[in-house]
Symmetry: C2
Subunit: 196 residues, 2 copies
């Protein structure tokens, strides 16, 4: 790796190229993505982009990594309803954002093979770890039944929002996020997410 | 339209071309779809495909229409839990099928513009109409609160399954479908889907 120092020229090049990748995805989508257009937009040599990222999927993976790093924040409101609402609002913030939408669509278009699948798995593993803490606190407070599966809660919170973005093209608003949180809370209290 | 008679040569050509479109999508995805490959696989003239469907999105739209026609079936088990479970199992059948998966991925890749968006809207409108009957019966039986929104139930049932297919690449099995049905039932009973 040609990393010189944090915040140095190499880091600035990476930021510029990934920013350009996201802008190109917003404008043209995954099918229209090209190394040339990304290099031009970032104002760097095409050879630099090829040397460092190799392929379009290499670019997409690095952009997803950068984006995922920014988008996970642990809620701790003192109650399961507030925590779930905040989780849903965090997901909404990503899914209502043009860059987030472009990256998620690209991730789906790229399909679930190779490097992309690895980044996606790592993101959801980290999300589950965070939700596990939230669930543990809720079980401790007597709000949720013991044995509630964090992975199920993690997926259920985002599912209706991803559905609106990717499938039905319906509005992504606070009402949708809060409804998702309330639905998960009701189902979790009813024991739907307990290990059978 | 050059439709001669139902089940005649034109209908057979349509079936062959749409079958070939789906097979090509399964093999190469939306990014790899070409009119030439579809025509070759269907054993028809390229000119026929261009004349009748015009563009790749024209082909995709017609394949989606044909597929959607086959995949909606009204459950009536006598109880809301059974009806929701059957709805979720129907969605699972589509999403676990290679052709269904290829079409749904292509729909997402094509984006939500023009003709594709129209077919998607029509499908979900029809799905909501069906769910409205299920909800009306459940309200009548006293299982669900009055004012429960059919559109919300319609989306919520499929959401965790689409999430598994498109986002997390997790297994699509009966357990996932039944959990989705149980979660929607609990949330609906708690009044989460009632018009505010």
């Amino acid at each position: 790796m040609a990393q010189t120092r944090p915040g140095g020229r190499t880091a600035r090049t990476r930021a510029a190229v990934l920013e350009a990748t996201i802008d190109e995805l917003v404008e043209s989508g995954y099918a229209g993505l090209s190394m040339e257009a990304v290099a031009n937009r970032a104002g760097v040599h095409k050879a630099t982009v090829y040397r460092r990222w190799g392929t379009l999927d290499g670019l997409l993976v690095d952009a997803l990594v950068l984006f995922a790093d920014r988008s996970v924040a642990m809620p701790d409101t003192g109650g399961i309803d507030g925590d779930l609402r905040q989780l849903a609002r965090s997901a909404l913030a990503v899914l209502a954002d043009r860059a987030g939408q472009a990256l998620i669509r690209a991730m789906v278009s790229a399909g679930h093979h190779s490097q992309v699948a690895q980044v996606v798995r790592a993101f959801w593993a980290e999300h589950t770890t965070m939700v596990a803490e939230i669930v543990a606190r809720a079980v401790h407070r007597g709000e949720l039944p013991a044995g509630t599966r964090p992975a199920d809660i993690s997926r259920a919170i985002g599912a209706p929002l991803y559905m609106r973005l990717l499938v039905t093209a319906e509005q992504l608003d606070h009402e949708a996020a809060d409804q998702s949180a309330a639905a998960v809370a009701a189902a979790a209290r009813a024991g739907v997410f307990v290990t059978p």
